[in-house]
Subunit: 411 residues, 2 copies
Amino acid sequence: MMQQRNPEDAALRERARRVIPAGMYGHGNVAMLPEGYPQFFERGHGCRIVDVDGNEYIDFMCGYGPNLLGLGHPKVEEAVDRQRRLGNCFNGPTARMVELAELYVETVRHADWALFAKNGTDVTTACVSIARAETGRRKVLVSSHAYHGAAPWCTPSSAGVVDGDRAHLIYYEYNDLASVEEGVAAAGDDLAAILTSPFKHDAFMDEELADPAFARGLRRICDDKGAALILDDVRAGFRLTVGGSWEPLGVDPDLTAMSKAIANGYPLAVVLGREGLRDATSRIYLTGSFWYSAVPMAAAIATLGVLREEDAIATMEAAGSRFRQGLEAQSVSHGLPIRQTGPVQLPMLLFENDPGFEKVRALAREAVLRGVYLHSFHNMFMCAAHGEQDIDEALERTDEAFACVRREFGG
Amino acid sequence: MMQQRNPEDAALRERARRVIPAGMYGHGNVAMLPEGYPQFFERGHGCRIVDVDGNEYIDFMCGYGPNLLGLGHPKVEEAVDRQRRLGNCFNGPTARMVELAELYVETVRHADWALFAKNGTDVTTACVSIARAETGRRKVLVSSHAYHGAAPWCTPSSAGVVDGDRAHLIYYEYNDLASVEEGVAAAGDDLAAILTSPFKHDAFMDEELADPAFARGLRRICDDKGAALILDDVRAGFRLTVGGSWEPLGVDPDLTAMSKAIANGYPLAVVLGREGLRDATSRIYLTGSFWYSAVPMAAAIATLGVLREEDAIATMEAAGSRFRQGLEAQSVSHGLPIRQTGPVQLPMLLFENDPGFEKVRALAREAVLRGVYLHSFHNMFMCAAHGEQDIDEALERTDEAFACVRREFGG
């Protein structure tokens, strides 16, 4: 059945199984998604993606984040063209690096400096190293279930992880200051940092916005203990605000890690830090073969320009609200209660009375068959190319998908 | 003086110091290079690069490796254009990923499968995790002074590194099997892997080709102990051969890490592994936001095509030999004995009687002033765009640079 709808995808999966372990890996692997999800894509534009069998989807994952303004955004691609004509990868950076660092320092409230890398994992790892170098201490408090990257110290699997990798991590519960205080007590005089995210966005769970008292509490504890407050803004950065995701709370982290959306799909990551951490940062040897490449930096400059000039965040908020309201109305009309949590730009959708996630899987399966790419256990992502018509078209199809869920599970 | 020659570079450094820790970081930082090296580049083509003040250099660093075929190689850029029109960053890979994995499995002798990432550090780290996951053991033998990346377990600095990060590393001396045997004995029944490089290419030291008996010895020890032999081919991969850098020795590693040159400057890294390690690999959660992006994979397919069709490695060998012979003749004529070591495509140049590296620094300083970009303590890189005329032009200028060294230090 799937083979008939997606014969090219099936053929590529078969070839992939021969030359890639398990045929695919990481967050791009659809093995945990319902049947019918395409593994391989052919092309895309704006918020629309097309798989290798020619099926088009209105995309609510946006590359798991990187597609912020729409695929192939003309201003970003123009900046990329311009930089490519000059060149990308030299023995050092171009002026784009300085221009981009200046832009971030000017834009993100707590940032006094910037350091660029490639992966989200590069910059979360760098933040931990910087905190340890500055404090001379080892313990890092991490929120249970939070994803901070795929290095041995943080990857969700335990395969290949050895005792040393996580020896100095202590876990707390998000939005629970008492659990943080317990962790701080356990760390004693060895607390280097508290690592957190701008809101709780763990897989298979409702999202939770940060309680402002929780955020302020982390700041106070870090100040008291001389530890660094690290904000892992890799997933949410520049979708909520351009000033840093905790700017609206008035809480400044010491270090922020960002990546994913900052260059609209071009590979780039950044550590933003406060003045006092410059020296520690410069004592660590942080580098990578492509970390000074100019093209992704040119793309990032253009991306931030579009974000500021075209109010792209408001566009995403409007599209996300429209989508959320439409889904809520469908949930009510079909008698299938759902929970939609978190910021509308990074929405999480789960069903009530769905402990095994069968209902949300059925919705996602029926939606993808109808050309709407949702996720069944991970937060989704809006982009600035989601227009009202795209949302309305997606909602027409999710209404049919809800009807299928109702037929399967009752309403 | 430098300011007069490089006013734009000086101005950018000043701006960079305000918004980037120490103004620059990692291997692209020129702080440890002699005076006169430009920090910021404007453009480049083939083997020529131009700094922000308009000074042109014949480049012997090639972006510290990535520039393999020449900057802006038409066949690579054409493949990039074609893929960009389709798109780069979706919710999963494109067919390019399968095509590239198939190409590598067909080309690199020991490879049964491939897994793609972004940084060299991503793939050296993944290799260690895979070996540990497969064996259920922890200890990894690593060559003293070897560079395997910039994560806490391997970065050359100790700032930010904590006790757990390197708890299970044991060091040996390259080309010294007795030291390896000592390490193996120390690991006892806990040996997961031996990590090595295709030849010794450590900073500030002569390069050493692998003694074939050493390479075979590592293979035999790993077979005896059920440990994985990991080849860190990040720096040299595809500059020596397309079959894997130890193919000429007839020694097959279990895992190879490659990056740098494989996509001619586009960001990509790959683990290549043998059949028996597929399952362990698929149990580890390895991922990154940009790891499935199609453009660098399209560039890698084109790069390997050019390597095979145009015999680019022979071109680099010829250029490297011509450069080495010319430098040797200049060394003799100026009475300044030098040591040129390693493969001619990744040459290392040091002076005799130069314990403080003053002579090699003087040569590099005088060369860069004359438009030849050498390195004073790191191996250099040839690319396939180095023509005879480029080499001869470079040699005219290095002859003047040698004369300066002679005036400064005597012959």
